[in-house]
Symmetry: D2
Subunit: 256 residues, 4 copies
């Protein structure tokens, strides 16, 4: 485990937990990042930019990689513009592409996302597209230059868990890119299960922001993600479909 | 979390992971206990007693509470005899009652288990009965003097996970005793989910013994159990059944 | 299918759908029985006995076998008394034993149910005990003289579906008695699934009584139960865990 | 129910079960169609065209609408060519678009499928695209002129069931087109569940072709689909999340 690294766009990370910042009071961000052990935190450009509540950037610990997202973009062109703005504002080269024009389910538009990925990858961005877990789209994103893909587990903010389980497993089995499950993960056990399946990292936001105790929930997610990764690397045991199998010596004791 | 204690029969524990020993090579037990952070370990009497492979007791770290089980008992009377023998052999006052006469599914006989619990509780044992998760039987066990109950998730050794989910939740909601989920838990994520539901502790054996890397899997379970407990205490966020909910500010960015 | 019979206590039935009557307006019972194609209908003794709303027996079509239940009994003795009363009132020899003393989840007490079964079977009743799906209790019920067993899918009236799936499958695999899934089935698809597993019949009440259109839902259940039975007899196809398998000739078409 | 019609491209159907033909021995097709009560049957063009095993068209009963598919097409252009050929061969105006270039999971390429749909709809075809259940793609297909959409439940031929449940529900809630669940449905209960969710029709092939008794399984599917439709129209009852609810009068009987 000590040498187990997540590599995205040539950058090495030891944490496999990417923290969202979209729903937090700025005062809570530092505690959440610390308890989560997060090395990457997403950031909506509006928050990086706003003056109202104090610049959120002041609350992010040193050494944490920013992952600005293109939240608010409804097509590839808007996503590209937001990404460029983020770089100009000093947010670095990483960008999470979000293209959404469905305000009820907030589902990503894979097609526009592929177009934006292609443009931004050519401009030297480390591109992490948020996507609907469709194998064909995932391959197109890989070909367009994505450094990782971020398939959804369930609609953003729903806390419904791994509704796309079977199709995320296909992505894990078929793609060579890091797979980061993003959106819909509502409980540490769900993050753990995704990691057991071989996913490379988890991004969570609402599950933590809507918990009763935010730093405690951030720590719970950290441990669950580490547990799932360790279990995946250790090799899960087999399942017995029918019947049981004694785990203690059962017979003959009293006959002796 | 620091002051979060599990109290069984007046004894305090900080770990909520009870490790089985039935399937291990004795050399691996010490590593597994340490990685699991376990303070309680189960033990089949035959193993405590046997001379063939070296006394298993020599391999259990100091300070760990032994939980001898009555594995091999087919009725209350046999369980009582095995429990008394274990105490005579110096295994202490804790006993896990297992009464099984079905060799295919290894399901516990609740009725005989209640009878044995009643006898042994009166003799001063700290009785932890392994049981089929039936609310009526659980109440009878509580009345018979059980110090905790150990409902099964799935058949022993199956690694099938929380097949009794809805009925374990009822036990959590209705009983005042500690609930320790025992048997069938196959993955850290399943242990985590049970803890999120409010279960007090997890017992695992086969899931770890059949893993590729036993100490690593023991550690994965430890973290997952801690994560589930922390999430339960922190208060899980709400689930949105229909639609999504933006976790980043979505609208208006580009209009400004 | 034409010769596929359900035999309970020496009586032959062609329908595998047992209808509850507990929640219906009496006017609806006749329509529900007809649309359900039911040959057996349960009846709470109070309703057979009451004068307030018109005797429910007047609304049950000719030729339908009554299955009085012991609803209201809190122990074996009360169940036996109610069963005898039902026979005296002319309800026949069939009796469904229900012993419940938990008013929140309404879960059956297997132990008291076994005792009542033993007494009533000896008195010549055709005994169908409602039970919590525990293999050991099921064997005891068979030994006590039950003509069929009625394991629950979920708490009565919950419409939650097959929460006990894995344990009902064990009963199907291990017992020689007819298995009638009773309580908790909320949708025709759930009844169909239980039948596909090899269950012999389904009892439903709340799912139909709480539907928008009661006779239509009764018919939907009838068809779903017939479909599940037919699929079980026809032999279900295999599942492919990984990947897909072409169902049309895929390759080479355009090359020719 | 009598007046409940499925309308696709202006054509009215009473059956909601579309039968695949790809895996059958030609001798079995007639029996399967009759037992299924199918009014639409899919057909791979190669089979319509082949001379080897006897023309499959000779085995399809009068009055059944043919739905030729573009099986074998790897992009929009090939799909368009196959569709035109099918019309020239006398297969009529209906066409099911299948564009697949992933030979392991056989997942449809939504993007190429949208392009082919647009071309063929303009040429007067009644276009039914097979698709990955992505809301954005479904809207694009509607805009491109599709007469219905055919989202997959699971990979073709897998019999794994409703793996895409949550996302098919979104399509049902958001689109005005008929939704026909196609691919992956392995059991009548799964077809029934999809219909209960509000889906308009089911297409099945492998589940029936791999059953032990093909005509019997075709009939089982027919009934299950009718049951699910009836339940949807009748209005499903509510689910009680916690606790049960008496379906018979419980208290006081013995006190009187």
């Amino acid at each position: 485990m000590k040498h187990d690294k997540l590599v995205i766009g040539g950058h090495e990370f030891h944490s496999r937990f990417i923290l969202g910042s979209g729903k937090y009071n700025v005062e809570l961000i530092k505690a959440a990042v610390e308890q989560a052990g997060a090395e990457i935190i997403t950031l909506a450009l509006r928050r990086a930019n706003s003056s109202g509540e104090g610049n959120i950037l002041d609350h992010i610990p040193q050494g944490v990689t920013l992952l600005p997202n293109t939240s608010g973009a409804r097509n590839a062109e808007e996503a590209v513009r937001i990404a460029r703005l983020a770089r100009e504002l000093g947010c670095g080269d990483f960008v999470k592409i979000e293209v959404i024009h469905d305000s009820k389910y907030l589902l990503p538009d894979n097609y526009e996302t592929i177009k934006a990925t292609e443009v931004l990858a050519k401009e030297g961005f480390v591109v992490l597209p948020y996507m609907y877990p469709d194998l064909n789209a995932a391959r197109d994103l890989a070909n367009a230059g994505a450094s990782a893909i971020m398939p959804l587990a369930a609609p953003i903010g729903s806390n419904k868990g791994l509704c796309t389980r079977d199709f995320i497993q296909i992505l894990v089995d078929e793609l060579d890119l890091p797979i980061i499950v993003d959106a819909g993960i509502g409980r540490p056990s769900q993050a753990c299960e995704a990691m057991e399946m071989g996913v490379d990292a988890i991004m969570a936001n609402t599950a933590i922001a809507t918990a009763g105790d935010i730093p405690a929930m951030a720590e719970a997610f950290r441990k669950a993600i580490e547990a799932g990764r360790a279990a995946y690397l250790a090799g899960l045991g087999r399942i017995v479909e029918k019947g049981g199998e004694a785990s203690s010596p059962l017979t003959g004791f009293l006959q002796e």
